[in-house]
Symmetry: D3
Subunit: 238 residues, 6 copies
């Protein structure tokens, strides 16, 4: 029995509110249960100097968490003067995941920045971020295309992410904070709507795990990502 | 005629959603029109070392803005590795304003941190922050009292803030971004529900202003703060 | 009775020594009693990149305090690796105040930096800085004009600043450190010689103040600024 | 055909020189072909403040690369004033991997820091680091036990790591720099000598990969880790 | 012929104004010609944590230069967020020099910090700093002794410093900025009034120098230091 | 009797392994007994912006020490976020020393960076760095000349460095860590193979020293540098 009462292969309720942010070219408030992340996509029609002149664009991500998104207040990274290793690891993962489904040549010499800010945290903030970022990116690219600044769609597929883990000896989908704190193995999967894997990260928190456990988690992740792909299609009207 | 069509002494619609944040001891999502700030109050039952042993508590504030809260994306302060002068000025003002209505002796040896994070910006983010912070602080202190950890209420009055300015030669209340960018004089007033002034900051952006202008802005501020006090009372059920 | 024995509307002795610094294009050692600030004006004939090409100049300020300018040694900001919020707030105020009396178009594409370094502190360092900075700026602009690099004077008026406060229930002018530490309300006023207000900042340190108090402080500030304007004219030979 | 001429399941030559560092409690110069990493283990008999008093020890890691370990000089992180996101990600991975085979209760209230410094880089620096770190850690713990400061061995198993990838459509083991720069999928596996998985990180650099590819890479990794386990046993005389 | 018209073995005029700073326990405004440095000595009756409990005191120094002390404005180290290598080298030298004539056991568990701030620079700022720091330190220690907090004088001798160099092929004493910019060899000597050497630093800026040149510079330094010792005695009334 | 049993004028065994680093244009692993420094020379065919367009090249150095190069672990400068004053002082000295024997005009508009990383420390790391850096620089320049990118050799002479000191009242050559920790006077000499002095730095750690001591140390340094010059010639085949 999971603390939340969910079945082992049940996602938390997924909510994706597109266009939540007034100013951004694309945005999505994504909720996986009590985990709420606001993602915005900002389009800049010029690249930073080190990326210019290659005929390609760039998609990048930044991640942050409001100090009191969590049970106890964490210190503000801007006040501490640096981003933690965890923050950097997460924003690198988000950027890689979205680039995996974007054709940089087709995007052209522009940069899209995906800002993922966790308003409220209850486990799975990085996977919610990736999943919501796709919606914001889709909206931003639709906007560029609507202005006739882009003729071929550079977004090759949907991408979604979900966490799975071994909790009390059982493989379970979409860990919330209570499960995550106590899981023996913790894994994040990033998948495309075309069935491909973009990233697998599976970490033993306690005892090592075996190949069968990895495969069980992978099967759960497919179930979860399919739910997310459906929610993304609803949110973007596709 | 104001760009928004408002009367010179009209506030934007004020919305205050108390308890918006799941984990915080107090919280308020405050909206002045399109300016949306999420304020949380975090209670810590012990003080940082430099404040200990004086029999008094402390109320402090931190302020941040999501990178795409604004028309064009601003850089993330955590990524730049420092808070701007503007950010520090604002968070110092918020802290001072809330301390002005809190009796530190009565609060006892605990610290309350008010995190004000701008989700969406359209002018007046610091005044909305102060106004919403009072609601979050009120909730947090009510919580401490409900647990019988505090017998006498240390919150002496309500505090609210509003911006006023001279736009196109007219004194107007509660500037939005369009007016603010173009105002000749820009002033922020922090007032208490007992009629006192906590802070006046009036800056000539272009030509200097005169004493009569200052007084006209002050009169407008009283009107605006009264509206905010009413909204605060509704939000906190007082 | 004030601790210093001064009348409520009496400034400390004002001394302004123009040309104190050997190398700077303009400079002034300004003394308000025991508060001594060395201000230099540095003219650069080119702007930083983000200001170029707009046909306008820029006036900016930096502020610092020697570690032992104060009663007890403060830590050196260069050694700590960052400027405090207070320092940034003050240098932003100084810059704004001097820009308020300078026509940026007339100044042309050059930048003048006003460095205000507190050699000795006894209250009112920011107001002394602004007042002395005007002398240094006047000298620097005179120098540019003398070289025929500027035909129309971009300096529109004098600007001066003074602090006032409520001490022991009385409104008093030009607070020294002893009064400042103990004042109920602390206000800084920046005024022009043409009678205009550039900045009003009035803060309740203890109980809130009322409108009458604000007006009383404003009247005292006019008296003080007039004394400073006279000293500035003597220092610059105008 | 691989650029190096190696068979798909062939490791580069593995060399592990224990005791390379004069001063450290444990050390190993580990070479995977032209990738050379110097690992030292430093034992401190007291914990940092935040870990004290829990009756457990801690194993942590830091990672660095000499500026000219690589084909072109990289900037020195100490001179830039911060560690890159990549560096932090790697040192977090190394620490986690070694902690996975160490019983913190048995280790007692002491900390062992594993410094992994890349002297020369040719792909696979993080996996060489983990593999060599085990040797340094084994030596350090042997030293503590030899001094009778520890009666039960806290090191539960060997741990090793290797990279695999899809290069030119083929799954290959232990990528060197040339292959790594050009691989479609890049994966790092951390395994224990008892057959368990500690960490799997598999990233699509270009097109997404499928489950079969992941399993093929996993099989290669087992082959590689077995070679490394053998080399570790030789190096530590076990 | 030297640019200044001075004889090869002539110091610039030396001026030492003790007690220049109102608040410091010791202070000296030292002038070597147009080089003006304000030195303050701050006594703290407790040591920083890492120096406590050894029954010894500590003397340390910090060095800074006002941005416009020089011909063209230098950037403010506090604004840049770090002290330059040059600044750190100088403040380490000042600290070492003063410690060389102070008995740390006799000083007892207190710390004296010597802040050397260059108000105006014309070459030789580090040697003027050391020379003036001795006066400030002497005053501070006299103050401690006058309060009967110290019975035996921990200051063992005077210490002074001067720069010498090879300019236009001639060995000259006390280089000003014009000579310094153009010197082939530049040397700083720190000496005690008891005839000892504390520090010699002689650097070839162009061609290497020979042993005879080093000895010639050393002889000049003795002449200069004797002048400084005399000025120190006058300033401290010894 | 020296702790190591060496004669007062005996160097430790000198070993210089040229070409130790696979990727660098020049490199040398230099050993002075148990002090081991890896020096690489990196040639960049363009200068940083502030050095461009003057028809001259530049030689610069960076210095670092692996955290466990020493008896007890030092903290990693990259993790602390800044280089210590000691590190900066040393890398400035190394750069100056190598520039003293390089004709910048002849070098042309290119930069050579000498990275000196201490793998193991036992006293004299800065002097070993300078001595080994000459070998790496010689190799790098030979490489440029071999590619016909430079017709006249810009390297004017050899440069070497050695430390000397007064230990137990005796002047001794090439101090190891044990002697260095306990020396009354500590001096570093940088000399050219043409007999010139590039830098003399002699510091009294305890009591001041006299002119005769300085000269004795200088004579020892000549003996040591001659040994190093011979080793450099062997290493570079000259």
């Amino acid at each position: 029995m999971r603390p939340s009462g969910r079945a082992p292969d049940a996602m938390r309720s997924i909510e994706m509110i597109p266009g939540f942010a007034l100013h951004a070219e694309g945005s999505c408030l994504v909720k996986f249960g009590n985990t709420h992340v606001l993602v915005t996509a900002s389009v800049e029609e010029r690249l930073p100097p080190w990326l210019r002149g290659k005929g390609s664009g760039w998609v990048t991500a930044e991640y942050g968490m409001l100090p009191r998104a969590t049970h106890t207040r964490g210190s503000r990274e801007a006040a501490k003067g640096k981003q933690s290793g965890r923050t950097q690891e997460i924003q690198r993962l988000i950027g890689r995941s979205l680039r995996a489904v974007t054709d940089m040549k087709l995007l052209g010499e522009r940069q899209i920045t995906l800002d993922c800010d966790v308003i409220q945290a209850d486990g799975g903030t990085r996977t919610a971020s990736i999943s919501g970022a796709w919606v914001a990116l889709r909206m931003a690219i639709d906007g560029i295309m609507a202005k006739n600044n882009l003729s071929v769609d550079p977004l090759l597929a949907q991408v979604a992410a979900v966490s799975c883990g071994i909790h009390n000896g059982n493989a379970v989908l979409d860990l919330d904070y209570v499960e995550d704190s106590d899981a023996g193995t913790d894994a994040n999967f990033v998948m495309t709507s075309t069935g491909g894997l973009v990233e697998v990260q599976a970490t033993a928190e306690g005892a090592p795990y075996d190949e069968e456990a990895l495969l069980r988690l992978l099967r759960l992740a497919r179930i979860g990502c399919n739910d997310i792909f459906a929610a993304q299609r609803v949110a973007t009207g596709r």
